[in-house]
Symmetry: D2
Amino acid sequence: MSHNSFGHLYRVTTWGESHGPALGCVIDGCPPGIPLTEADLQWALDRRKPGGSRFVTQRREADEARILSGVFEGKTTGTPISVMIENTDQRSKDYGEIARQFRPGHADYTYFAKYGIRDYRGGGRSSARETAARVAAGAVALKVLQSHFSDIKIRAALVQLGAHKINRDQWDWAQVDQNPFFSPDASTVKAFEDYLDDIRKAGSSIGAVVEVQADGVPAGWGAPIYGKLDSDLAANLMSINAVKGVEIGEGFNAATLSGEDNADEMRIHNGQPEFLSNHAGGILGGISTGQTIIARLALKPTSSILTERKSIDIEGHEVDIRTKGRHDPCVGIRAVPVAEAMMACTLLDAWLRHRGQTGNVVFSLG
Amino acid sequence: MSHNSFGHLYRVTTWGESHGPALGCVIDGCPPGIPLTEADLQWALDRRKPGGSRFVTQRREADEARILSGVFEGKTTGTPISVMIENTDQRSKDYGEIARQFRPGHADYTYFAKYGIRDYRGGGRSSARETAARVAAGAVALKVLQSHFSDIKIRAALVQLGAHKINRDQWDWAQVDQNPFFSPDASTVKAFEDYLDDIRKAGSSIGAVVEVQADGVPAGWGAPIYGKLDSDLAANLMSINAVKGVEIGEGFNAATLSGEDNADEMRIHNGQPEFLSNHAGGILGGISTGQTIIARLALKPTSSILTERKSIDIEGHEVDIRTKGRHDPCVGIRAVPVAEAMMACTLLDAWLRHRGQTGNVVFSLG
Amino acid sequence: MSHNSFGHLYRVTTWGESHGPALGCVIDGCPPGIPLTEADLQWALDRRKPGGSRFVTQRREADEARILSGVFEGKTTGTPISVMIENTDQRSKDYGEIARQFRPGHADYTYFAKYGIRDYRGGGRSSARETAARVAAGAVALKVLQSHFSDIKIRAALVQLGAHKINRDQWDWAQVDQNPFFSPDASTVKAFEDYLDDIRKAGSSIGAVVEVQADGVPAGWGAPIYGKLDSDLAANLMSINAVKGVEIGEGFNAATLSGEDNADEMRIHNGQPEFLSNHAGGILGGISTGQTIIARLALKPTSSILTERKSIDIEGHEVDIRTKGRHDPCVGIRAVPVAEAMMACTLLDAWLRHRGQTGNVVFSLG
Amino acid sequence: MSHNSFGHLYRVTTWGESHGPALGCVIDGCPPGIPLTEADLQWALDRRKPGGSRFVTQRREADEARILSGVFEGKTTGTPISVMIENTDQRSKDYGEIARQFRPGHADYTYFAKYGIRDYRGGGRSSARETAARVAAGAVALKVLQSHFSDIKIRAALVQLGAHKINRDQWDWAQVDQNPFFSPDASTVKAFEDYLDDIRKAGSSIGAVVEVQADGVPAGWGAPIYGKLDSDLAANLMSINAVKGVEIGEGFNAATLSGEDNADEMRIHNGQPEFLSNHAGGILGGISTGQTIIARLALKPTSSILTERKSIDIEGHEVDIRTKGRHDPCVGIRAVPVAEAMMACTLLDAWLRHRGQTGNVVFSLG
């Protein structure tokens, strides 16, 4: 029940602070015999890496992942995979005020309230830097999934920036890596740029919505009641920094639908079950249907902003506080590869549990 | 990692099918010495009970909870509390078609895909009847919480029925138990009645949004990263039947806010930290702030409807299917006490874990 | 991490007190599609049942198991199996002294020290009556194991009663159910009878050693480090009432062996690996070798005896205490079916985890 | 349920292979505000370190622990403590034969049977080198325990080497660190030296028994049934490399005792409960009594010996095998600090869980 782990059979434990010497993760339960190199992790880390455009934090980190255990002669051995990423750009500075003040909207206050102590350097453990470890774990999970299910694809995109939504009719996955927003809609990029430039220059920040999809997942993964696949996704996506909402399929819109409109009808196609729609987002009763799994997560704006806000300090004085430093004007952007990673880890864990209990029951109709 | 349990130190395991002889839960980790009787559970169960109005299923169940262990001379002993609720109104009938067909939008198909077998009587394990066990566990959790924190109040309400939202300016908790919708806004009741009567008579169904709030929770509960209080809430609320979305505080609206607008500023009031707003919904960095904790859950419409829909059967034939029987036209209504129960269980578990790790660190400013 | 559960993928939660209305267990994670009836549980419960001979407690309990969920049309569905056993012979009596005094060597004092409250009726939760629930769960586990591995046999026997050991050269499994001691050595039965009659008549009690073996377990179950099969066995066997020691294979005798003598040499037999000895008790590095798995457990004497012993009461007075009532003169006897049950549950859980991580890797030499 | 973690609220995850670049652990759930430096870990690691005498392996490792996270300004923060120990003496060599052959009595065969792949360099994950990580975690646990309970002392000693037992009447804790065997009985040292010199020179090995005691533990830690303190100790001690048996208090000897002899009588001394003996080893009903907690573990002889033994290789050929290299002639010796570490971790975890559920109920008599 450790607070810094998630997953059951594919279990990831992360550690490290923003400005400590390093951060990393230990992956336990990885199936054996899967080809794995540090390069498999690096492509994913590079997508999340800071400093990639003017729309993300200007902190410079190589984010080079080192595999310290669990891989032998290029293959996973089934023992724990320890991944370490050194922090190289922890600027030495005087933390004087930050050390004593609580930034509004930030975890500063609650960490202090809980523990009576906090590592205030760069947000310490609460920094979004922790998500690098998730991305490494997700890359491993994806490798395992795809080595058994060649059709599985896991992809995320930014679908809303502030109040601006993409045009879903223009959705093109190929566009996602062609712009600094991970937008699947090329037509929105210019507007996003202008909008976020204004916010960035004003020292402000803005929220976003990210959508993550998994194709090629067989029916039967997940489990009833408290082991629901959507329950696991909700927990794991909500654990990403700044996330305040998670929805599956129609999500909050499902509240407005009638039973007729929401039901995904079925037919037989080439001898196999086929759904005529996917309001459910690929999950019914907590178990995958075989359709695309679709989740969305809402991220609040970065709380570290240049505008002065009212706050207090640890001595109980009232203060006005501006947060200087290098911050993402929209943390939602870099959450895109993180959402993919959490989807990959969640699905792999669900599959291993399904295989454990049922031995991959393959049902057949008729 | 059991699929039918949730919580860590306050751990609830539920069992039972809709049309089996009984259902129930085992509560492990309950603190000792708490006064508890079956009546403490019954008031909560009665709120969730079917048959209370024409807007909920007409199944008649006494929902009488029996405590089989863990309570001695009127107090909890610290050992497992086993609660059993007998099913009394499982109408004997011919399940012929339902046994072979998959209702669209229902868990019928996925259970079968996963296990190769399913208890088709009344939805079996996937029936919302399982939530009675949650309500019992929540009533115990509330008793424990309030015996240590007399200010804690946990209350939920229905805030949206289909596309119709309540008027939040009219929010009055006293109204919630005065109408069959658990609406906190008396002015909406008539409209809700007319709307849902139409739906009910048409043999259709509709979704809803429920909001649950917890007042009086001290700062410091929850934990960083994967033990976040919002992460636990997301998992536990998403596990409720028909829920497709969960949000905390501003939730999806946070995506549209600027950093300035979203930050909850702080001041000192009577020597104590005070927040000037609550966009965060009482949780920052996964840890409670001391403000009201606010979560919302979106529920899809009941999939069991009278309208004919396309589906398939277990032999792979295409069929058209209508679901007769007694069903909730809006499962969101009876989800109100269930959401309260899940909030209570989640908070108690968070508190026990907090106490375990920190011994209830009480920080003081200055 | 619940205190009243064990296992991971095959997870058993037990509940109930000696003199409450009932006791039982909830089994989560059972594979689907396994034929199961109440009769499958009953034969195992009957072996553990009190009242079978003059050498066990004279309490009369039918120990009839009722399956309340998780089985449909004679097969497991993959959802939780709830088993309930009613207590029928909880003699109503005046617990006056027992309610206030701590029996030496009993859990009375520690439960009170921990919880500040205890159910003193018949030992409450600490009664060996709880083991009935384990036996039910073990019977289900054995059914699952044998439906996949027809060669698996799980058998236990009493190998030592007080200082009297059986003659291992006379070991005959067929004898175990032919005498009231579960002794595999017919030649010891008369001596055991005389010995235990004396102890019983003196109102005393005596300890014992039980050995449990599992044949037909494939190589590869269990896991390195903290998931070792011997580690799980140690925890699960040590959790049985009155057990104070657990050993695997040579066990404590391994301390006296040289590396040469302890190593189980290997050869190829009919193209398969073959061990020439089994000092390891079928487990190396925490993983099954394919040989017979062998564990032994030492049980202390029942603490409830007629002889007067010094103790104290809850007011802090010194008292002299004799425990009247119906007790086992040797709890080791009825621990035999319990040890089998714990072995079955442990192995099934290990197999499901192995299958989850590896998909039942079948290695082949050459 | 990860296989490379143990503990619940104080949860330790270890990683690393014998001949990989490093090994380490992640400690989750450590209480905040505890002073901690790398020196606190180093004294414990130095006791376990190889190369200390001719009676342990001649591998030379600095075993320098580096704390990478979770400590800020000299105190624990409540976030994960990541500890890394670099491997510096992994001699480069040709593993030709070892890579293909299974050493009898070793985990070589079972790892291969389970995973179909194994890191054969120095035993890979199955090497006793993993215990360095446990010792680091134990040192942290001890620091936490002693910062709250100044009377707690955790000490282990070697009490049997092969068939040679120490004289318990000569027990003197001060002797333990004065001889290379961790023997508490100075009079046995010469005999141990001569005995083990013969074994070492013969290229053989021998087993041992270690006893670990914890003084100053309050009554009430641990929990009933599957959360028993002795059950946790059994699992955690059995997880140490080469351990084949664990016993508490009288252990296997309890089988030979009568109820009268085994019961620890109680009296009141200075107003407090006092036990007149400690057959129970400080645990009754799975819960600490307030007396010294006593456990013993039996370790088999190292399987890596110079004598030729029969085995097979991965191609299925029969081979004769001698294990050259640097090995402990008796792994039991270096298990002494490891046993202390596992006792410390187990107790801290039990205390945190106890505090979580009960808030440290302090009962008082009268």
